[in-house]
Subunit: 123 residues, 2 copies
């Protein structure tokens, strides 16, 4: 490979830049509406399983384990596209959600606006 | 305040859950196209300045300092809406970009797809 191909910003080589905990941020948007659904974190295994299965997997920081989104609720996220950012420390997933993406029952985890320092439910 | 109003998930009180480094993830999407532009991190000061000024501020982990997006390039992000997620550890900003959001000159930092484990430039 040339230096350019190997360069994290210009190259074609996937070389995720994991943080000190071995994690990379992953944002999921709804493939049809474009709305942001959730933000979570992936370790190398979660990223690989997501690519292999086509269904979003994450690493739960609170439970400290691999987590297939929807494993309990059934509300899986079927991946339609994955992107990575310039310095390869964030992933953007477009997905078709099988149900509400948020554990609260909301379609999106981002159900509140910040207005004048307070939170308001979106319409 | 009642317990419900004070609850991070149901309440109207902004109480960001910063990580051990005092940071919260912030995703920016283009207000008109809905495309994801970038993902960065905010400390409490960056979040406050973003709210006060209406222009996105972040905390640069590499430079370890507050960073007004576009301070050098002029490509500021004018905030049209801010949301926070269920557990208040991620912020979603909709913004009008003054120019390319990525330091590489691309409109979005997410200019490459992951396909079969390799990266391909989007069309």
């Amino acid at each position: 490979m040339t230096d350019r191909e190997n360069d994290p910003e210009t190259g074609s080589r996937l070389q995720p830049k994991y943080d000190s905990n071995g994690l990379i941020a992953a944002v999921v948007s709804d493939d049809s509406s474009g709305e942001l659904l959730m933000l979570a974190y992936m370790n190398a295994e979660a990223l690989q399983r997501t690519q292999d299965s086509g269904v979003a997997h994450f690493y739960s920081r609170s439970r400290q384990r691999l987590w297939k989104k929807g494993e309990t609720s059934g509300n899986i996220l079927t991946v339609t596209e994955m992107r990575i950012d310039c310095d390869q420390d964030a992933v953007w997933i477009k997905a078709v959600p099988a149900g509400p993406a948020c554990h609260t029952g909301q379609n999106s985890c981002f159900y509140r606006k910040i207005i004048s320092g307070k939170l308001e439910l979106i319409e």
